[in-house]
Symmetry: C2
Subunit: 604 residues, 2 copies
């Protein structure tokens, strides 16, 4: 195991200096918080993660969650995560005081959970899904459901889950088939199967509160016939005693990674004795669920950024300590009489490490930015401003979920490569990060689905208003950065890219306008990559501009080297990552249609 899994200075730099948490703390909702108190909170989370999460990371992989005797057995730290996490406010932190929360900004939740994810990505999900489920109840369900379920959830005594996916439907929620049959007592009888339910069962919670998408008998087909239900594993009887609610754990999926985080297959109502309680109004289930989705997608991006970060630190540590080979002499030869050098001094190793750095820190910056948009759209009172951040959030959210997941996986792969043969060995931790992160481009909406969301929905939002707002934000950064001689050239580059993006989008949108949606969306995934890289170039230019500002004004919280390293990383991104957009633009403008199914069999 490596000694460190994050750089807390970079996290705080991004939170306070680059993304100016204080803009958020100004809002009434957060008036009890200040940087000092939040700093203490972050430090306590780091301390908790050092002690309770990180040391069990490898062990949880080696002794995975598994099905046993009708239930799921998980590692003992799951109990610590839930109960201690509950006490510390890791579940309820962002909730209203009246719901038992601390009214913390989303930016803090993200920063805090980032630390936990980096320490041990198998654990925070148990708390995170409980949070999500509680949030749905708090926002949309009756007082009675709130009183019955929420307090135990926020305390980490009861687990919460989201039950969307079904075996026959996969990502296609319009095909959800779980049935809800109205009962005389106002409840519903639930019957159906849900798969891939994270944190769906284990020995450390007395009860589980499942938030289940189901179709009330007679509801219309498709997504508009889906309702949301609270379906507990155990329901209170008339005396308040918990009795079985006929929710059966059928299996725990064994997986390539995140093996400590259970992934269950649940059966609801095989004996026709499973009660569900409607949340909000009938047929509005998907709407409610999707109001929570932004938070969930920030969480996925954050988790992937965290794994990439931890992998970066592990491979960096190795590269600094491992002697191997020699530096090239000016003859182009190596002198065997010379002592070995550390591998961090080989340019190719530095290139791999720098890629990890720009991906992991860039991703973290992106998820913090999204969290800031989230906080502002939730708390600003000016309607137009509120709308602005809502649109910005909607637009970037698919990238926030996808970029850290996809590029994080590549970054971790670089980290593994830094270790050579050892990277592939179970005794070293890189291979675990490599396996763990591979789920991130899949869950909470695959990369393909996020890409269609970005191109097919978000880009067209309010006639392209969201995109216009994002361009304005980028243009502002370009203006700021242009003030500094050293950054001017990069500012110009980003400006040119922005123009190119606009042309590329016009080209694509012309297909939508002609009604050729299949063509329009057929290259959504390359478009996602294209747009994300430009967005990350912006994120990095912004980080570099803040660093330059600190260096020039002397308004510094960190060493000169710290700021210089951020500028160096920005230059790396512009040299090695941004040029990928050249090829992507040419894919997106290519006239050939090669991926739309027709009569021809192309797979032989």
């Amino acid at each position: 195991m490596a000694k460190e899994y994050i750089d807390i200075a970079t996290l705080k730099y991004l939170l306070y200096d680059v993304h100016q948490l204080k803009d958020v703390l100004k809002q009434d909702r957060f008036s009890d918080h200040d940087e000092a108190s939040l700093n203490m909170f972050l430090d306590s989370v780091k301390e908790f993660s050092d002690r309770e999460l990180f040391p069990y990371f490898k062990e949880m992989d080696e002794k995975p969650a598994h099905y046993k005797d009708g239930g799921v057995e998980v590692h003992k730290q799951v109990e610590v995560m839930m109960k201690k996490g509950g006490e510390m406010g890791l579940i309820s932190g962002t909730f209203d005081y009246e719901a038992g929360g601390l009214q913390m900004p989303m930016m803090m939740l993200t920063a805090s959970a980032f630390i936990q994810d980096a320490a041990n990505n198998h654990l925070p999900g148990y708390a995170g899904l409980t949070l999500g489920a509680a949030e749905l109840i708090i926002n949309f369900a009756s007082k009675e459901l709130n009183d019955t379920y929420v307090p135990k959830m926020l305390a980490g005594e009861w687990g919460g889950t989201m039950c969307l996916t079904e075996p026959q439907a996969g990502s296609s929620l319009s095909d959800v088939a779980t049935k809800a049959i109205p009962q005389d007592d106002g409840s519903y009888q639930i019957k159906g199967q849900k798969i891939f339910i994270s944190g769906g069962d284990h020995q450390y919670a007395e009860n589980f509160v499942h938030l289940v998408l189901a179709r009330i008998e007679g509801a219309p087909a498709g997504t508009k016939g889906i309702s949301l239900f609270v379906v507990p594993k155990k329901r209170p009887d008339e005396n308040g005693n918990l009795i079985s609610n006929n929710v059966t754990t059928v299996a725990d999926f064994q997986k390539m990674g995140q093996r400590g985080y259970c992934t269950t297959h649940l059966d609801f109502g095989d004996n026709d004795d499973c009660k569900g309680f409607l949340v909000g109004k009938p047929h509005q289930g998907l709407k409610y669920m999707f109001l929570m989705m932004n938070g969930a997608r920030i969480a996925v991006g954050r988790g992937a950024a965290a794994i990439a970060t931890a992998a970066y630190h592990a491979s960096l540590e190795y590269a600094k300590e491992r002697p191997q080979g020699r530096k090239l002499a000016s003859t182009g030869k190596k002198d065997p009489e010379q002592g070995q050098t550390f591998i961090i001094n080989h340019p190719d190793v530095r290139r791999m490490l720098l890629l990890q750095k720009v991906v992991s820190e860039g991703s973290l910056s992106l998820v913090l930015l999204a969290s800031k948009y989230y906080d502002l759209k939730e708390t600003l009172t000016d309607k137009e401003e509120k709308k602005k951040y809502e649109l910005l959030l909607e637009l970037i959210i698919p990238m926030v979920k996808t970029y850290p997941s996809e590029m994080g996986a590549q970054a971790v792969s670089n980290g593994l490569q830094v270790l050579g043969g050892y990277g592939f060995c179970s005794d070293f931790i890189l291979q675990q990060y490599y396996r763990d992160i591979r789920i991130f481009p899949i869950y909470e909406g695959t990369t393909g689905i996020q890409s269609q969301d970005l191109l097919g929905r978000k880009l067209l939002l309010e006639d392209g208003k969201a995109l216009q707002l994002l361009s304005e934000e980028m243009t502002q950064t370009i203006k700021n950065a242009s003030k500094y001689d050293e950054l001017q050239k990069y500012a110009v580059k980003l400006g040119e890219k922005l123009k190119e993006v606009s042309g590329t989008i016009q080209h694509l949108v012309s297909f939508a306008k002609k009604g050729d949606y299949e063509r329009y969306l057929s290259d959504a995934t390359p478009f996602m990559e294209y747009m994300s890289i430009v967005t990350l170039a912006w994120v990095w230019l912004d980080m570099a501009a803040h660093a330059k500002y600190a260096l020039l004004t002397g308004d510094k919280n960190y060493s000169d080297e710290f700021y210089e390293s951020k500028i160096h990383a920005m230059r790396f991104f512009f040299k090695y990552e941004l040029p990928k957009t050249d090829g992507l633009a040419s894919i997106l403008k290519d006239e050939e249609v090669l991926t739309i199914a027709d009569e021809k069999e192309v797979f032989i």
Copy 2:
């Protein structure tokens, strides 16, 4: 498990039609072989792989090779692989008749091993390394060593290994420290540690013949002081009885993938009773080893191509059978009343499958081409022609090792993604391919090392003669393809790229000329990617030109759809893969120097 792991028609098409095995069969050495007999051989290998390799693929992952009581326990199919494989000529196939071989072309070895690798990549390595070790003995060692060791190895009774890597040296062979102390009887006392020794020990071989790099006492430092030794696990005593040779198996590395293929840590001579027998002359060890390296690197590229191929077939099968979602209507909406479609009909899934197809079939074509060069340089009698193929082989070999490994891993990742959540689950096979293939960019020289070989050595070979020859080959294909209207546009594109490559190389070489070798080589890995993509574009254009020829002349062995699908795949490569070179060219020409170590700390 999928039903199929390769498409034998594509393999035969590449072997006979595209790469014209008959050019090779014309050579005297192969006069006993013809297409019919080789076809029968291939069919028997396929039948063997279907029966003895593929069915055990998952089980070998689930019950990995492991250390036990001083030895390594492997799956029982290892015995079948070795003994049956020995009988079938899978070890000795390419060897001279007088060495007990069948004088088959390398092209056939590649095709045959490709089938086996695709069926179960954990097994063929046991035979492959035995082959490599035997080849070294046959080519460079004394008659006595040949007589003592080779026959048992070719029969699959004794295993063979290559022992290069040491714990303190890693990839840096100049730091090999294993000692060889001359003895009065002409043998050497060997003392040292070797790690990552594939197939180094197991219960199914009576003996192991290790080919060990070591340093004779007093030898010069660096690679020029390294000698090669035969070091058996058991040596014959004066009566010919096998006695222990003090080779101890210290451990079997547990790994993320290829878990059925043992990876041992061997200790030589901890009791000062380990005898080694010099192969050839002192201090020539690395030269001998590297003469075998081309074969080994073709084998790695082939293995990666094979895994990518098997993963492609597994995900293709899933995509054809899995209903999910609907096709987009011209309104841009989906109609929930409409029946579900199979996921293969979604453009994004087709894009992922087509990437797998172009990578796996393109890689296979590349390794067969390298094998053809190998056969021609070995058997042609005209000195200039012989030299030509030797140079072509030397130039492409780093790409042959690297492209299938790196892009194969990405292709498999796409395959996993096609299955969504199931792709991540242990019950499905994609995750195993994903784990298995990750070692390929590491062993037999990492991607970084291959890239330095390509740019630092091969490109400069004989004043760039090799590169000139490759350009001529590409130009010939461009000329051929230009004859067909449908292909002209792609031929033109490749021609333009070729010009660009030449400019990019000139730019890079200017650093070498100035003596700035560190700068010259600092972007060797992006250069590898750049050069490989152009090479693959050529490989695909060649495949498409052959397909077009067949369609137009009617000289067909396969259906029209088969040929059309190859042309479609070429177009896919040109649209989606070739444009990556735009960005790579700009990286390679960028003036910024960001990865060469200096005084600044950039990793904070």
